[in-house]
């Protein structure tokens, strides 16, 4: 038995025994690469995800809503930070990870390439997008890679706040004036299918699932999570009197779950490839923030250097 095979077996044995892998532990290259890709995509989603909601900060309809939304978007920035730090433990700097985003090399969740057109979109995003994120992320709190799992525990706590706040916005609108209810229904109509697509391609077409499940950096398949999300969300929509925009949606008594209509995968792949309504704007916004902020970062490091030198010459 070659030593390499031995290492791989030990590594898998640890994972099977639910022992966390830590940054200094040996890990297969492919595991490291997959994690870097997965965690950085997640980090970018948090950061790009600030933009569609940030779009409504200056127009929130009450001071309380404005403050809550600002706190929410700020939380997402915090999530991005934890996750960039988790990527750093795998040997890739934050700067490198961010450069991969703005060069267009790295991906982020396609959901954020849709525009936020009305205030109700703040409700729909919290309820559906944060809701779908929770479905995806709760199992990751038990991911095999320690720093990732620990970051997800903190993230998930806040995401469930966001989900409740979003649902509460929807509930308020749905029980408000006719115009407000219409606004809420319209937001649900626009965000439902993109939210369903957040779980990714069907299992049959999902390339990495099997290996990732074996490595325990994925615990359920895309289709399982999607189904779980639909089953949890449909009654919530009914409760506030909104209609899910899927004429094929029907409770299946036998299976004990909802049947739902066909997903427009053509749209999904188009948005992934960059043809969504806001892909260009989102990337441009991040690119601008990065390039226009360069002089600030340079100044901060120049100043830190000067200070260190002055301190050193004082000691000497």
């Amino acid at each position: 038995m070659s030593p390499q095979i031995n290492l791989e077996e030990q590594f898998q044995a640890k994972i099977d025994a639910e022992i966390k892998i830590e940054p200094k532990d040996w890990m297969p290259d492919a595991y490291r690469k997959t994690l870097v890709r997965q965690i950085s995509q997640h980090a970018h989603s948090e950061i790009v995800g600030m933009l569609p909601e940030g779009n409504w900060l200056t127009r929130a309809p009450s001071l309380k809503r404005k403050a809550t939304l600002l706190a929410k978007v700020q939380d997402e920035a915090g999530h991005g930070l934890y996750l960039y730090s988790a990527v750093e433990t795998l040997g890739v700097t934050r700067l490198q990870t961010i450069e991969d985003l703005i060069s267009g090399k790295a991906k982020y969740s396609s959901i954020f390439n849709y525009p936020t057109l009305t205030w109700a979109d703040m409700g729909a995003i919290g309820w559906l997008v944060d809701g779908a994120a929770i479905m995806n992320q709760v199992p990751l709190c038990r991911a095999s890679y320690g720093p990732y799992a620990r970051a997800m525990v903190r993230v998930c706590k806040e995401e469930s706040f966001h989900q409740r706040q979003g649902y509460e916005i929807m509930m308020t609108l749905a029980s408000g004036s006719a115009e407000q209810k219409e606004m809420a229904q319209d937001a649900l109509n626009r965000w439902w299918w993109p939210a369903i697509m957040m779980f990714g391609p069907t299992d049959a077409e999902s390339a990495n699932t099997e290996q990732s499940v074996k490595w325990k950096i994925k615990r359920h398949t895309n289709d399982e999570l999607r189904q779980k999300f639909i089953d949890a969300t449909v009654p919530q929509a009914e409760y506030i009197g909104l209609t899910i925009p899927d004429k094929d949606l029907k409770w299946n008594e036998e299976k004990g779950m909802y049947d739902f209509g066909p997903i427009d995968w053509d749209e999904f792949w188009n948005v992934v490839k960059g043809n969504g309504p806001c892909n260009k704007q989102r990337l441009e916004a991040r690119r601008n923030a990065h390039t226009e902020g360069a002089w600030v970062r340079d100044a901060a490091s120049a100043y830190a250097e000067k200070r260190a030198k002055r301190a050193a010459s004082k000691v000497a």
Binding site: I47, M50, L51, G54, L57, T58, R59, A60, P61, S62, L63, K64, R65, K66, A67, L70, A71, V73, Q74, A77, G78, G80, L81, Y84, W119, T172, L173, G176, S177, E179, Q180, A285, N288, A289, E292, G293, A294, W295, V296, R297, D298, A299, A300, A302, Y303, K306
Partner: protein, 259 residues
């Protein structure tokens, strides 16, 4: 105290509390524009923190103004249903964000003033005002420290950062004088012993700013130059109208709804 005088003071106090609230709100609104676009993730978060504090202070102040008015208005009525000419915020607060340096400088100049003002107001004979000031002062101390550190970092950073922030200093300076020119309401309240005379805060403020600018290797602008004024009496720069149009649009479009 005779009743007519009492009503005058009550009215002046209400206007003054609105002035404080408006400035915080408008500055908070400007800070909201940064969210998601900051140069460094940690600083994006720090700015949002300041924005959240300002919004919190705004809400306490509007709630107090509403009780002083006694017309059963809400904080949102005061924020979303008053017009350009009714807003009393400092002109400084409504100036567009510019670059990150301009934003931190605007914050620094305002917080340096707030630090001095709130330190007096926390001992005001008006208990409600004193309580709000005391709570805000803790937040302001942090905002001041954060913004002063950034002014120093950018001033004493690179050639580019220094020339950028020096340019901002020279542009923004004309909007700082208004803080120290009392409105009629402020004069009334000062005479009644409820608030300090803002004229007297100028020297200490200048001292603080001079110190920080020295460490930042920035030149102090000519202090005898013309100072813009008008915010406190509702005569604003052209920027405010656009800000209010944006901020108030949902409340204006769908009057009387719950959100």
């Amino acid at each position: 105290m005779n009743i007519a005088l009492h009503t005058d003071i009550q009215q002046a106090l209400c206007n003054y509390v609105l002035q404080l609230a408006d400035t915080n709100l408008i500055l908070g609104q400007r800070i909201c524009e940064w969210c998601g676009h900051g140069p460094i993730l940690e600083q994006d978060i720090a700015l949002s923190n300041i924005g959240l504090d300002l919004l919190g202070q705004t809400r306490s102040l509007y709630q107090y103004a509403a009780t002083l008015q006694g017309e059963s208005k809400t904080e949102d009525d005061l924020a979303f249903l008053r017009s350009e000419r009714q807003f009393k915020n400092l002109l400084l607060a409504e100036q567009p964000n510019g670059d990150f340096g301009y934003t931190v400088l605007r914050q620094f100049l305002y917080e340096a003033f707030q630090l001095l003002l709130l330190d007096r107001l926390k001992n005001s004979s008006d208990q409600q005002l004193a309580a709000i000031a005391e709570k805000s002062l803790i937040e302001t101390t942090y905002h001041y420290k954060w913004s002063a550190e950034w002014v120093i970092r950018l001033g004493d950073g690179t050639d580019e950062s220094k020339s950028r922030i020096q340019k901002s200093v020279n542009e923004i300076w004309t909007y700082t004088g208004e803080m120290f020119i009392p409105s009629v309401d402020e004069q009334t309240l000062t005479s009644a012993g409820i608030i300090p005379d803002v004229t007297n805060l100028k020297e200490e403020w200048l001292h603080k700013v001079t110190e920080v600018f020295a460490e930042a290797t920035l030149d102090m602008p000519d202090n005898n130059g013309w100072m813009q004024r008008g915010g406190k009496t509702g005569v604003h720069t052209e920027h405010l109208g656009y800000m209010l149009a944006e901020m108030q649009y949902l409340q204006r479009q769908y009057p009387g709804q719950k959100w």
